[in-house]
Amino acid sequence: MDKSFAFLKTNNQPNRILSRALGKLLDKGLVSAVMAPGITNGSDLPMPVLFTRDEAMESCIPLAPAAGVSAAVQAARIGRKVKDKRVAVVLKPCEVRGVIELAKLNQTSLESLAIISMECPGRMENDAYLAKLSASPDLPDLYLNDSSLQDQASSTCLSCDAFEPQGADITIHLFGLPVMEHIGISGMTAIGNELIEAMDLEKPGAAYDQREAMARLREKRGRAKEELFQKTGEILKNPDQYLEVLGNCLGCFNCRTACPLCYCRECVCARESFDRDLDDVSNRAKKTGQARMPAGLSMFHMTRMVHMSHACVGCGQCSSYCPSKIPVADLFRTMGQQVQNTLDYSPGRDPEEPIPYLRFKTEAGS
């Protein structure tokens, strides 16, 4: 385990206690703000909230098992704007990967961000979370300790084996630990260690071996992932299945809006040049007797795949946003893996690793 590994006593309230520990960073002036999942007036859905005073941290749910939106976009906004201060951002591992990818795309800078991430048990879909929460208000805490609740996570999370954060300054350890008594916190970088010092943590008495719990989860989710990729790979290759899955697409562009990596202000697919000419539609109709009027949706999805498949971090927000319940994320992650394997690239792995399409070799050769 990491050298700076320490325990945080949780007294059956891991979220509350961790919020207070984060509040100490504000109190001691180590960070100028903390962005973490929290609830604000009017909604119980955890959203990225910017906290600047430690007494406000009571509404913070850092380990919330739901994410209304991908916090990567909001963290990137902070990184882009804030230059001479440090802001702590609490992100899920997929969101960390998203921020790192956005930094590579020159959309943000990681310099002012202190990234705090956790071993992620997964997030629930928003409506499922809210329904469950009304029955049990302690859901964010109970979720961490209850594998039957964790099995109700979104389908993307259930098939995600990248639940360990990469590139974070601080990692919060949950798996294999008695989370209702204490959780583990370790600093991965110099900044992380500095922040941990301020949290007043206990030095570990007995070391916990997380390897077994991690391996078990990785095996379970890895198997689910392989099955999913297998199934979705077939859908993509088979026109009948493909049309059946994507036929309900409304062309609302929600998946584009949800995607933390789709950073363009004006999407190329929204331009006039992507409008399908009426002559094209009528030509198609002449051939087969009928043609769908909102056309070019395959073109939209494939264009997005071309743009994003190498960078897809697998957060699953596109599926969550889809009003037609199309498993967009499954399609993207499957395609993403194929493209990433070809290009030998893993999004969010390393901020220094260049984007594959910029990695061209300048020496001669074919």
């Binding site: 790979g233 993509l236 290759k237 088979n238 026109p239 493909y242 049309l243 994507l246 036929g247 697409c249 094209d280 030509n283 198609r284 043609a291 769908r292 056309a295 070019g296 949706l297 395959s298 073109m299 494939m302 264009t303 795949m305 071309v306 498949s309 190498h310 499957t334 395609m335 194929q338 493209v339 394997n341 070809t342 290009l343 594959p356 399409y357 990695r359 061209f360 070799k361 300048t362 020496e363 001669a364 050769g365 074919s366």
Partner: protein
Amino acid sequence: MEQTTQQTDLVKTEQTDFDKEFHPNIVALVCNWCTYTAADLAGVTRLKYPAEIRMIRLMCTGMIDPRFIVESFLRGADGVFIGGCHPGDCHYINGNLKARLRIGGLKALLQGMGIEPQRLALHWIGASEGTEFQKQVKDFVEGIRELGPSGFGVYDSI
């Protein structure tokens, strides 16, 4: 592309040897500085190459938006042939190298969508290589002819 199909339909009133063969729709995206000149040279030298290719001249393979290729396939192309300058010879220093990476990624994507990788080809053909152009186009068209129609146009029905 629709128009061309209709024209062939008109010709099909009586069967000729030409009609017995499958004539793929092939889009050729070629660089102005090398492959297009090579095609010109092939023409001047009276080297015959298959008439199935529809050549589109671009200033550089580096300007090939993957959209050109995706849209070609969606609109019924059976193959896309790309010709650019040899590495190191690019008029714009490294456009062809960018194209190579981009097309490599796109090839994986199209393969995931069920398009055979042979349907998308990238070749380096210098301006003086008229015979090489003839050979590559011939080989490509024959390859596609063996593969048959791509059928990828179905994906465009949504």
